[in-house]
Assembly symmetry: D2
Homo-oligomer: 379 residues x 4
Amino acid sequence: MQRLKMGMVGGGEGSFIGAVHRRAAALDGEIELVAGALSSTPEKALRSGRALGLPEGRNYASWEEMLEGELALPEEERIDFVSIVTPNHMHFPVARAFVRAGFDVICDKPLVHTSEQALELVRAVEKAGTIFCVTYNYTGYPMVRQARHMVRSGMLGELRKVIVEYSQGWLVRRLEDEDKQARWRTDPSLAGAAGAIGDIGSHAENLVATVTGLRISEICADLTTFVEGRRLDDDGNLLVRYEGGAKGVMISSQISTGEENNLSLRVYGTEGALQWRQEEPNHLLFAPFGKPVQTLRRGNPYLCEEARAASRLPAGHPEAFIEAFANLYLEAAAAMRARRGLSPERPPDFPTVYDGARGVHFIERVVESSRSEKKWLDA
Amino acid sequence: MQRLKMGMVGGGEGSFIGAVHRRAAALDGEIELVAGALSSTPEKALRSGRALGLPEGRNYASWEEMLEGELALPEEERIDFVSIVTPNHMHFPVARAFVRAGFDVICDKPLVHTSEQALELVRAVEKAGTIFCVTYNYTGYPMVRQARHMVRSGMLGELRKVIVEYSQGWLVRRLEDEDKQARWRTDPSLAGAAGAIGDIGSHAENLVATVTGLRISEICADLTTFVEGRRLDDDGNLLVRYEGGAKGVMISSQISTGEENNLSLRVYGTEGALQWRQEEPNHLLFAPFGKPVQTLRRGNPYLCEEARAASRLPAGHPEAFIEAFANLYLEAAAAMRARRGLSPERPPDFPTVYDGARGVHFIERVVESSRSEKKWLDA
Amino acid sequence: MQRLKMGMVGGGEGSFIGAVHRRAAALDGEIELVAGALSSTPEKALRSGRALGLPEGRNYASWEEMLEGELALPEEERIDFVSIVTPNHMHFPVARAFVRAGFDVICDKPLVHTSEQALELVRAVEKAGTIFCVTYNYTGYPMVRQARHMVRSGMLGELRKVIVEYSQGWLVRRLEDEDKQARWRTDPSLAGAAGAIGDIGSHAENLVATVTGLRISEICADLTTFVEGRRLDDDGNLLVRYEGGAKGVMISSQISTGEENNLSLRVYGTEGALQWRQEEPNHLLFAPFGKPVQTLRRGNPYLCEEARAASRLPAGHPEAFIEAFANLYLEAAAAMRARRGLSPERPPDFPTVYDGARGVHFIERVVESSRSEKKWLDA
Amino acid sequence: MQRLKMGMVGGGEGSFIGAVHRRAAALDGEIELVAGALSSTPEKALRSGRALGLPEGRNYASWEEMLEGELALPEEERIDFVSIVTPNHMHFPVARAFVRAGFDVICDKPLVHTSEQALELVRAVEKAGTIFCVTYNYTGYPMVRQARHMVRSGMLGELRKVIVEYSQGWLVRRLEDEDKQARWRTDPSLAGAAGAIGDIGSHAENLVATVTGLRISEICADLTTFVEGRRLDDDGNLLVRYEGGAKGVMISSQISTGEENNLSLRVYGTEGALQWRQEEPNHLLFAPFGKPVQTLRRGNPYLCEEARAASRLPAGHPEAFIEAFANLYLEAAAAMRARRGLSPERPPDFPTVYDGARGVHFIERVVESSRSEKKWLDA
């Protein structure tokens, strides 16, 4: 199998998510990093690229140079896709430019800052006909796919209630001055109009949408900035109403002391319920009405095909965050191969630009709801 | 030690909570059941009393007869207190009558149907100077007392967020026609203006208030009746704002498939966080900021005095629901003895008529908020 | 229902297990404590009885006086049974005397010190035809009864492996000089020939026998005394072979730092496996071959009849140690009533004198195996 | 950083562990697979290599050709090391040949079939001065390194008891005829003299040795073959005595229904205890004497340096099996670089040929003990 050639924008020195993307891309041996513009500071970009062993000619000082440089190469040598792992504010210009130039894109979330940008990007992707994957990475977990399968196949009956939470504690205190991640993620010009709800709340929204297929109809939000001087929300609680009548709660926090990366989902239906926790991702609880709760564990033959396909190791040999991330890369890579006629077509099983756009819209509505005196805002 | 003499109103055949109260009262050998009017149906009352071995002359056909009969006895033979375990609508008349007659009272929750009734009862208790305990039984757990101690002694710093939940699944389907408990608990004339939020949501409110000392300032509620034909709410989600700036979420549900009696509390402060789950009540999680999470377990010498005093068995020999319930009886009994000069005075460590009144007010406000278009209602 | 009249030998001031027995007996309102000889020190016996409110004339200074005194009463006033909760060395003389006098007996474990004593007691019980219950209390847990049911009904297929463990940490350090419990439990003249293996290992043996019906055929034991100066084993590891070919491991320890009362059982068969832990006794894990693990929880309608009958509260309202203990009292009381013709006969569902005798034999063989150079000793 | 060049022997079609090694090697971008002899069947070897995209000239039909072919290349183009992932019987000839030729080696476990082979290999490595890593992969987990640190730094006091278990259920039934893994792992000519105890018991031994530093002094083993017709043990229980007086139990099973890959370790000392479970590898329980149990979680600043260094992601973003495996590759790669003078010397933090040899010896002694009538065998 010919490896796909990846370029990367962002993800240089001090980046957290850049290394995650690189490991996710490398894990299965189907993708090769061949080019990069790893920082918005040219000097840092070049230094980061050298540290990673990027070939000299394709270690670019800026994403503009990279776009130009790659387009100048013979088509078969060019990168197949670009992975965008910059702070949020750069997603839009970089993604738009690469899409317009016909490159496939894997882009971190939240997609862009505004719905207007999102719409423009959606149109660009539609026009270009390229592959566009947004790394709502938690949907890559095998047991999330199992959960989705169980909801879709009716094992929960009619859905009534969804409790989703994404609680962290890393911003309990003011870290803005000492920590790069904290700095940009609490700066509206880099992170966008929202803090916790943008950074992690949007993962929660995407997880619910992916697993249940439910779409939010109304929102009632209460965002708070607990840490003095912080410029964006660091905590949020939402009442949510879904189309079709289900209801629920959504919690997003970065000031919940002691929490690490507690993304948890519970879905209650008339015939059964599911519970999944990202921090122990290898199992899924299923409570069929009136019967003992079952613990479904990754790697077992009793799981659905999508869950088994998303798994690399036998049961009991735990998989985790990077494998889930890598599943998005694998699925996007399969779609890219299909687009090139190298493998059969199949529906995308990764979050697309539409998911990304919906996430941006969600963030906007939550921020507006939180500022509103009105109880319910249409979503 | 002279046993206190208990009379019971309600709790006859088919009652769930009556037997709980009797076991809680019997557990420590300090209280003796000597009289009862165990049902509103005279025949059933008498049959139930005989089954329990009540002495013939004190097995009353009605609570009115019991009040009269006991008052006719020499003072030293009378019951010391009455335990009221009827459906909710009878709490008010029975409690008021016994208080007025000078008896101490242990009454199930929610206290009464309306704030007006609650106020009247509070005044009656104040006038009579009697002991009045409302069985918000979950506060009797040793690890709840430990949690309260830790919050009060500042181990959590300033409180920021409280997530409390009381989720059950027993009303997922329509049980009203076949189950006595379901029938009266969904009948507004017997249960009051609220269903789940009254029956279990008020426990959640009380648990938060007991552990944290926080008082609710504003409420935003969304109550739902999911099961067709049901006359009261069977699910509710609340955004809550507390005096002093803490915020939180409160969840109350009886249609959460697979949930049994999931009362769970999480409290996040600037210096630490706590987590407790009623279904595994013998431990409490404590996350001090920046340090490993600790699992505090009942029965250990490192616990606070109140937690140790509320415990009967060594660590690892689990205690549970009935012991917690019995702790309220023990504490109320101690207060009754103190009132009679049989033991030293001490501040009540059980939910009083004031807690009961606050609970009634809470239920009223939640119901009103749920009906309101206004986002925030003063609590 | 007429309450059964209980006398108690032992269990006075400073006793741990005496109060447990009293609470277990009181819990369900079917038994009344009417007499006692609560200590081997007459003065302490009387003081303890007064503290418990025993009637003056039946608060005896010694068990001999109690036996004599009760026999002197009219038959219908006498105690129905005696509960023996002394240190181990007194079980034999007291139990034998009361059995011979025709009283039913509930006796703590281990039954007696030697197999000879056990045999004599068995014969005495057979001759008297009385009820004799040995409080291997852990078998009273509803989920242990569920486990037994599942094994017996073939849900595990052929049993292959049993891992049982009873680990505590309370004797990590030398407590003999400061703690009454530690003192007598490490004194061979009071506790018998074994320490941990006698005190708690015999519970493990009984739990396996109860749940699986397996009988040990061969033992290979390694007992250790880790704490300097201690006179009995405080730790033991055993390889076990069962009749029929199953094998296993048995662990018993009181020096396992951090362990509280960790009695855990795992049973593996060709068709399924079970796991139960005493510290979280309300659930039982069941792993059917090739299918998701199920968590069976107490209080649910899907449980077997014996498990449901042994339960007092709905699911999610946890029961624990005292309820399990009380189940033995309830079952023994039912057998006593049946013996008196007050209720229908039924097979005893509590550990009998035969279980007690088998436990004594087990302890003896373990001690001998540990001293032996021979690998396998017949059990 | 220049990538190290890896060759692989074994690991072609149908291999489980080959893909694990390749992912582990790829994860961090420091190692590149450039050559392979992926099967003992030449045709299959070549087909497997092509599927992986091995360069044509270095896709060898046999390991002998690979050795010859690589030696024929200019030194700077040759593979730096070979990864041996064949069935066990091939470890010895392949490893010996590559060591003698001066290549560094990463070899799967158990190292070889006999102590004689092990000794020969140890001598070859000593003579060649090459790096030799045996993939006892579980020692690569960050929390295992934390556990080791805590034991070594005295936080547990004097060690008294070790309970280690490696329980699987995948061989509950006869799979030998249908499953490649089952076939060779139960064939003495391919797997060696032991089944479960060789395949997974040796992991347990290594985990104990790594974490505690304890060396076994005496063994008492009971191995069993439960499945009819199986040629090697599928279950084993061991009593173990360690140098210095600690004792313990070691359990190894592949017929424990419902178990997946349950490698669990508990270490009890006079001052504290530790517990770790491979299936939930991101946390470690620490019970300091007399204090609450702590849950130490990967990725936190309170961990020791080795644990932090072995971690790639922030707390709450779980890592798992492949990362632990990759840690051995990283450590071995660092040692290889140091040997080439490309980085500073440092002591190896990976299982070496000595660990491998000790493991072989352990397996031999267990098998002998199991056959012996003698209770204790020197280890």
